[in-house]
């Protein structure tokens, strides 16, 4: 594997490129060439070289794509795809082993009456409940994801954050959702953010690393694009929009900016990074809009649970309700499925 330092002009970031049907799938660079970052100056030079995001264009594009109509059998397929991409999440102070047990049961078999419904991708819990979730899930294909690194604020020393990660991994977590230090990012200490991602990635070992950018606190789309790059350069397997704990959660334009960053990274560095949207996604309509956005930005290659995830809890019930509605031809009751 050849690694090299990217010179500034090697990073292509075409803003809002139109994707035609023919080249909808991203041309992933044939060799992995992730730029090696050795100094903060290198990192800053690379990040500063990223072109700015056309905010009006991004919002208009996301709004336009969200009007696309997905009906009948396509809708049914999209609903099942969305179910298979869910990280079924419970991140409450009041979480108990009992609650996690029911969550895991639901994750493995979302609709107990219908075995054709796929299981969700993962359950997402706090580190202290990882071992319990692992024991409930047993050998099922559902992964255990755990938030770590002083979630949701990320305000702890690196030592504490790494301990948090190691404990979750040793308890059986397959995936770690870390938060970046937004304070450091916003005050320009990109090197610190980068170093933390690198250190957490190392502490993860075999576990996949999702890096939460918390776009609701990053203020601008330019910051979202920059933070995406810092996370991906640091070794993130996924970049994730939000913790779900602040006022502004995942939005379509933010997801669009992140998907474009992922596309540009794949084209230049040759490594595919996944995207997880989380927070505030409650309806099937919302979920399908994200699927359309993924398909139109990075292509169908990304339409797999390995590269796209939806972090949610109440969304699953709505997807199941809509699925049943498609099958029965009548609107169904909300209490048809167990509550969370």
């Amino acid at each position: 594997m050849t690694r090299r330092v990217a010179s500034v002009d090697q990073v292509s970031t075409t803003p809002l490129r139109l994707v035609t049907v023919e080249d909808r799938n991203v041309q992933i660079a044939s060799t992995i060439a992730v730029p090696v970052i050795e100094t903060e100056a290198q990192l800053k030079a690379l990040i500063v070289s990223l072109s700015g995001v056309d905010a009006v264009g991004a919002e208009a594009r996301a709004a336009k794509l969200s009007t696309r109509s997905i009906k009948k059998s396509t809708k049914l397929a999209a609903i099942e795809m969305a179910i298979s991409m869910i990280d079924l999440t419970t991140l409450e102070g009041a979480d108990t082993p009992g609650r996690v047990t029911s969550l895991c049961t639901k994750a493995m078999r979302p609709d107990p009456r219908d075995l054709t419904v796929p299981s969700v991708a993962a359950v997402c819990v706090y580190p202290d409940l990882v071992a319990h979730a692992r024991s409930v899930l047993g050998s099922s294909p559902v992964a255990v994801a755990s938030v770590a690194t002083a979630f949701p604020s990320g305000r702890a020393s690196l030592k504490v954050k790494l301990m948090d990660v190691r404990e979750a991994v040793s308890a059986g977590a397959d995936e770690i959702d870390m938060v970046i230090d937004r304070g450091a990012f916003l005050s320009g200490r990109l090197g610190q953010v980068f170093d933390e991602v690198v250190a957490v990635k190392e502490a993860c070992g075999h576990a996949h690393l999702k890096v939460i950018l918390e776009t609701g606190e990053l203020v601008t789309y330019d910051n979202v694009r920059r933070a995406s790059w810092v996370a991906m350069l640091g070794g993130a397997d996924f970049i994730k929009t939000s913790t779900g704990k602040v006022t502004v959660n995942a939005t379509l334009p933010n997801a669009l900016v992140m998907l474009e960053a992922v596309r540009d990274f794949a084209e230049t560095a040759g490594r595919t990074v996944g995207v997880k949207v989380a927070g505030g996604i409650r309806t099937s309509k919302d979920a399908i809009r994200y699927l359309v956005l993924v398909n139109e930005t990075v292509g169908s290659t990304w339409l797999t649970p390995n590269l796209f995830r939806l972090g949610a809890s109440s969304l699953l019930n709505d997807l199941l309700m809509q699925r049943l509605k498609q099958q029965r031809g009548a609107y169904v009751r909300a209490d048809e499925f167990s509550g969370d």
């Binding site: 029965r328 031809g329 009548a330 609107y331 169904v332 009751r333 909300a334 048809e336």
Partner: protein, 285 residues
């Protein structure tokens, strides 16, 4: 200064969750007077409007039922007050829609307003009539109380655009249900007006939802919707009613079908959408 001014024409809209949206579908249909003259462009509701209305009604039901019976009576009485102050407008619409002269239409409006007051009075009395204590062989105090069924779908009677509508929607509302009503297809404007009045009479949003449109298109959606607990089939023929009742049976709804000559003072409508809950309470030393 010229007296000429632009006509301020009214848009007849739906009532969903306390708001007045146009149909989600963007459609409208022409409503004519009984003599065939153009009257209004009414919103032509779609199945998604029905869906939204049911969601709103479901959301409002617990709050409406948890209000005291006294309070529900006050709210319904206030609707009568609002209707009284706009009675001429109501009478004009009833006259045009049903082809009445103005005296008859005024009479119909009076009867409708009186009926609203009648239902206002029933809110805190219905439990005494439909409920009570039951004699049981044991040391128990046993009593039954009527609870609302939940969300009631009303296919409002087609001919009587105001009085029929008042009966069909206020009976279930007065006992604690929330309602999604399909207004008379050919004569929707009095129902729309009454819906507007609920928003100035302390009705919580979603307690009464009014969808105008083609009954043949919307009624099956309402009848099959699994989150609707009761269905009033006043506005369809017996044959169509059978089909709709079969759809309603899919989710075990209560179904109300009026008698050919339903008496004004009949309690059948009040009885139609309640569930009797019986409680056993220990007594004795």
């Amino acid at each position: 200064m010229s007296d000429a001014r632009l006509d301020v024409r009214k848009t007849y809209k739906l009532l969903i969750n306390g708001a007045f949206p146009r149909s989600e579908s963007g459609r409208s249909y022409e409503v004519t007077s009984a003599k065939g003259a153009f009257l209004a462009n009414a919103a032509q509701g779609s199945r998604k409007d029905v869906r939204d209305a049911v969601t709103a009604a479901r959301g409002a039901q617990a709050k409406w039922w948890n209000a005291t019976a006294y309070n529900r009576g006050q709210v319904i009485y206030r609707l009568a007050e609002m209707a009284e102050s706009r009675r001429d407008e109501l009478a004009e619409h009833v006259a045009l829609a049903e082809g009445m002269n103005s005296r008859t239409s005024q009479k119909t409006v009076s009867a409708s307003i009186d009926r609203i007051v009648w239902y206002a009075g029933w809110t805190d009395k219905i439990a005494q009539v439909l409920g009570g204590t039951n004699p049981v062989a044991g040391p128990f105090f046993n009593f039954s109380i009527p609870l609302p069924s939940g969300v009631v779908g009303v296919i409002s009677v087609q001919e009587s655009s105001l009085l029929g509508f008042v009966d069909a929607v206020l009976a279930p509302i007065c006992v604690g249900n929330t309602v999604v009503a399909l207004a008379s297809e050919a004569r929707p404007t009095p129902a729309v007006l009454l819906g507007e009045m609920t928003s100035s009479s302390d009705f919580p949003g979603g307690v009464l939802n009014v969808v105008t449109g083609l009954t043949g298109e919307l009624a099956p959606v309402l009848a099959a919707h699994e989150d609707v607990d009761g269905l009033d089939l006043s506005g369809v023929t017996f044959e169509v009613g059978d089909e709709l009742a079969a759809l309603a049976a899919g989710s075990i709804k209560r179904v109300f079908r009026p008698h050919e000559k339903e008496s004004d003072s009949s309690l059948r409508r009040l009885r139609a959408f309640v569930e009797t809950s019986t409680v056993w309470h220990t007594i004795g030393q």
